[in-house]
Symmetry: C2
Subunit: 622 residues, 2 copies
């Protein structure tokens, strides 16, 4: 089984993506153009990314006081990626994009994530950044900032967190004040001066591109000079590292954005991660608005994007796709580990099966027989099948969500509205589930390798380290749980959950007709009822603190139920074929229903009982 | 809560270790001497180990072609450790030991493991090595090899694995042939020449000590020159790096043991890990037996220890204590992470609790209120409570096993026999459970820290990397599962399981008298029945392949049941007190019964059904 074969099955046999070419937006495309995109992605990923993934880990980004150094191979990889058009795969043709369905783009990007999650970070960030500018910015902003990103001349970042406010965006302290009297007349948008520190900024400083376009959340002080508490006062700004003319050329002047330090991470090392200072005076800019914050050029120049006070909306547009993208990254790391473990298990001879029991009743092995490849051991197969279930299941989920995004953009109004609602509910799962179980897959890949897997001579320990980030960034596991149980399943009277339930029932009805899947169809129906019951029970007192006390466990149970549904739906499609590939899909489905889905009982019990063990705990007892 | 307070409670209130001083072997001791050992351990661990744990990770062992370089701080730490007597804490006074109960020794060593698992590796290996020589060797071997180890002049290793035979010891290829006619006349024991490669040898090469004593498994060829298949032909040899006179002084001659390479690990980096060549001719030794294997000095000199062909017995004596020790290492890493996460969670302000629901039915926060320390969030408390349950539970289990070892050595014949049987059943759990859940604790510690936990500025990512080794070395998880379900619970007609069940019933009866614990007592009774039922069902067809197809899941379920029992037993002792400490133990018990124990259902189901999803899987489907 190859990733490509899996993608072909999921895109065409399962999701019917070929029919998307009937839609106006994708009319120039055909299965042939999709296939050629996948081929190109696989080739560049294999040639330019995969061979240097370990190098990107060992040769960590380094700051010499002037510049951040990265391996030359990262730059070469990015160049090949850019030249093949992957920075703007799904973007409008008018902005230089290929106008691919998001589903196909997501599939293609999977090859790069599998080959090197940290080397592919730069391109993914630039795409997300430029897409956000296209969605919320003015034509001038698109021209000056987004287009150079799609062309690979500029790269981009998302600057949300601050040292004192990680997940709590309402507490950011970065200030943006109008840059002089004429601040509204700048062709690039209302011009502000920004001052503040931004933490955890991936791609915040490097020499991979001519320029770096920072998208920065900041607050515009009220008339009393104070920042408004909460998220309402947050605006979004374009803050380029180097100042830019309206045609996207550089003015030659540096903006006041400076590197305060690099974060030295456990994994994901090839993506440089930074603490940035905005407007601290290292690169003062007098600019057109006068003297800046202090009359001496302090404050980084930033251009308001979208409406003042609506910065989170623009950012969350980007964030939702980013969250699905994080989930896909976790999935592709799981996939990479699974491939490595499978190769190893087929090749490595070790031990023998238990042939019989001896006279003392104990099992015995036949030591004179040759050793067998470890894939012959049931426990090794279990670890491989689990990885398959996590990696391929996560991939199916990610593509399903991408298909919903396409429906949002190009479906009928009703279909688009339904897709939007389903995405609200599924996004926390698409982000969190692969982050948790992809990590477990990587741990199992190490385990299959034994001691070798724990060394840097094999790739799996790096996958595992890389993947540990995914439960943290773009909203931690805990935040996804509160988002799901505290917002998504109750919004609009629980409509999202109802829509999802209806889709599950459709799959259940189809699976019930297939003898091999009938039992799983029943099990999914029961699990869905359990989840729905726990949702109700959690909210039955109407108190958020009680309802959400076990939200992370709810997230886990919800996630496993969604994945059981995804696997069952995949199995329905696979059941139409009769080959090794299809039997593999059915085996993974069987594994998921017998070994994984039963776990939800233990997770849902405290949710349904509104168990207050953690909520009521006196912290002094810890 | 401090580790010391926890140890005092577990050793004295729970395990009644003070009464051990009534036994002859420990007559010189008192609670005061035990306390002073614990104090010394804590002080040296805090002063000499903990501050350099990160250094030991960053300054990885390096081979310059001549010598392996380690940080000077590792040597200094080891020196303090040696001078305080920790190399021989529980050993006989006649061999230079302190004759401490193993339980107290295990407790004291916990401080070093928590401070730096990889720096403490050298001392632990030397102790295990010397203990094995004392158990199976001759007085001359003890004098020449073990005593210098206890004195810290020599360090030691265990050489089992080979590149082609990791877990499968029956397949080792290292050969040992008699060293000339007079090979049996050497004062240090029958002298052999060894030739072969040993993989994964911790402490295999360094300059921390005058000499390194390798304990090497090898096969003595039969009269036909062939190696006997299986484990029966395996013997154990003492192979010093430098040759030794009977008084333990060095002869000045190097033995033919050479470093083939260092393994570069994901974690646990401070313990150098090596591939060693024995007898490959790099340091030829003519010696007294003539020319060695090839007449030109080839073959490393090794002295047979114990009986020929019984090498595994001597090694497994060492291995069982090593396995409990590995579990304790995993536990102490969990403990270290828990302490760090707890400190962080108390100090770090972030976010606010949900105060109420807004008019739209969604929960809202009061943004104008100051941020709260994250320990106020129920999900953070859940992650801390889980860590407490894993770390403190693992500690209690490890000390319980150590207490059984003391009973083996110093109890009445009946008590010793019972302890031996219980240890057979509990050792796989004592090794595997902390390895799995200690790792999970470390992952949760990272999660509590958010992005900071993923950086090298905080200790928790190192704990997590270090701990990943523990499911692999000293018998993988899969091997522990087969050992438990394939041997330990069925040996002697299931006597070990019956004895364990009786101990659990005793705890259940005590807990049933305490209102706060009554419900948990019932739950434990049911879980025990579930485990017993699954054991029977697994073996009901008498076919090892079917019974053992899901042995790892059995191990997990058995482990969680054992830990539920340990927690309940600890809670019975804690219920006698009424303070924050005791309430903390009860909270962790409650957490374990409500959030953890229910997981066993999902694990036992495939075991009891002899689910053949993995066993019957066609590997081509993967």
């Amino acid at each position: 089984m190859t990733l490509r074969a899996d993608l072909d099955f999921l895109l065409y046999d399962w999701l019917g993506c070929e029919r998307l070419t009937e839609r106006e937006r994708f009319a120039e495309h055909s299965r042939e153009t999709f296939d050629s995109v996948l081929e190109t992605a696989e080739k560049i990923a294999n040639d330019k990314f995969a061979p240097f993934n370990r190098l990107s880990d060992l040769q960590e980004p380094e700051f010499d006081g002037e510049q951040v150094h990265l391996p030359q191979e990262t730059k070469a990889a990015l160049q090949a990626y850019t030249e093949a058009g992957f920075l703007a795969g799904s973007q409008d043709a008018e902005f230089g994009g290929m106008q691919l369905p998001v589903t196909v783009e997501m599939a293609a990007l999977g090859f790069f994530k599998k080959a090197s999650i940290s080397m592919s970070g730069y391109g993914l960030l630039a795409k997300g950044n430029a897409n956000a500018i296209c969605a919320a910015g003015t034509p001038a902003q698109i021209e000056a900032f987004a287009k150079p990103e799609y062309a690979g001349r500029f790269l981009g970042t998302m600057c949300l967190s601050e040292p004192q406010a990680g997940s709590s965006l309402s507490d950011i302290l970065t200030r943006a004040v109008p840059d002089g009297e004429g601040y509204q007349d700048d062709p690039l948008g209302p011009r502000f001066r920004l001052k503040g520190n931004k933490m955890w900024i991936s791609g915040g400083e490097h020499e991979l591109s001519e320029n770096i376009v920072h998208l920065v959340l900041a607050k515009i002080p009220g008339p009393d000079g104070k920042l408004v508490p909460g998220v309402k006062g947050i605006s979004l700004f374009i803050v380029p590292k180097k100042l830019v003319n309206p045609d996207g050329s550089l003015t030659g002047e540096r903006n006041d954005v400076s590197l305060a330090g690099l974060n030295h991470k456990c994994g994901y090392r090839g993506t440089v991660n930074t603490l940035l200072n905005f407007g601290e005076g290292k690169y003062p800019v007098r600019g057109e608005g006068g003297g800046g914050l202090d009359g001496r050029g302090a404050g980084a120049i930033g251009y308001l994007i979208g409406e003042a006070g609506k910065g989170l909306n623009a950012m969350f547009h980007m964030m939702n796709e980013a969250r699905i993208g994080v989930g896909m990254g976790a999935t592709m790391l799981a996939y990479a580990g699974y491939e490595a473990a499978l190769d190893y298990a087929r090749d490595r001879p070790q031990g023998r099966p238990f042939a019989q029991v001896g006279p003392d009743g104990r099992p015995v092995k036949q030591a004179e027989q040759p050793q067998v490849p470890i894939i012959q051991h049931p426990d090794v197969r279990r670890m491989l099948l689990a990885q398959k279930a996590y990696a391929e299941g996560g991939l199916a989920l990610g593509l399903y969500c991408a298909r919903l995004v396409d429906e949002q953009h190009t479906g009928s109004p009703e279909a688009a509205a339904e897709a939007t609602m389903l995405l609200e509910v599924l996004t926390p799962i698409a982000k969190s589930w692969p982050s948790e179980w992809g990590l477990e897959a990587n741990s199992l890949a190490i385990q299959v390798h034994g001691g070798y897997g724990y060394t840097r001579d094999f790739p799996v320990e790096q996958h595992w380290r890389d993947n540990r980030l995914n439960m943290i960034h773009e909203g931690t596991h805990g935040i996804q749980g509160m988002d799901l149980l505290g917002r998504k399943v109750i919004m609009e009277g629980g409509k999202g959950l109802q829509l999802l339930g209806a889709r599950m029932q459709r799959t259940i009805a189809q699976a019930a007709e297939i003898p091999a899947l009938k039992g799983f169809a029943q099990a999914l129906g029961q699990s869905l009822q359990q989840v729905a019951g726990a949702t109700q029970a959690a909210w039955s007192t109407g108190k958020p603190s009680e309802a959400l006390a076990n939200a992370t466990l709810y997230l886990q149970a919800f996630g496993h139920t969604v994945l059981a549904w995804i696997w069952l739906d995949v199995a329905v499609a696979a059941a139409r074929r009769d080959d090794t590939f299809a039997r593999g899909k059915l085996a993974a489905t069987q594994y998921f229903f017998r070994y994984e889905l039963p776990k939800i009982g233990a997770w849902l019990q405290p949710v349904a009982e509104r168990d207050d063990t953690c909520l009521a705990l006196d912290p002094e007892c810890l």
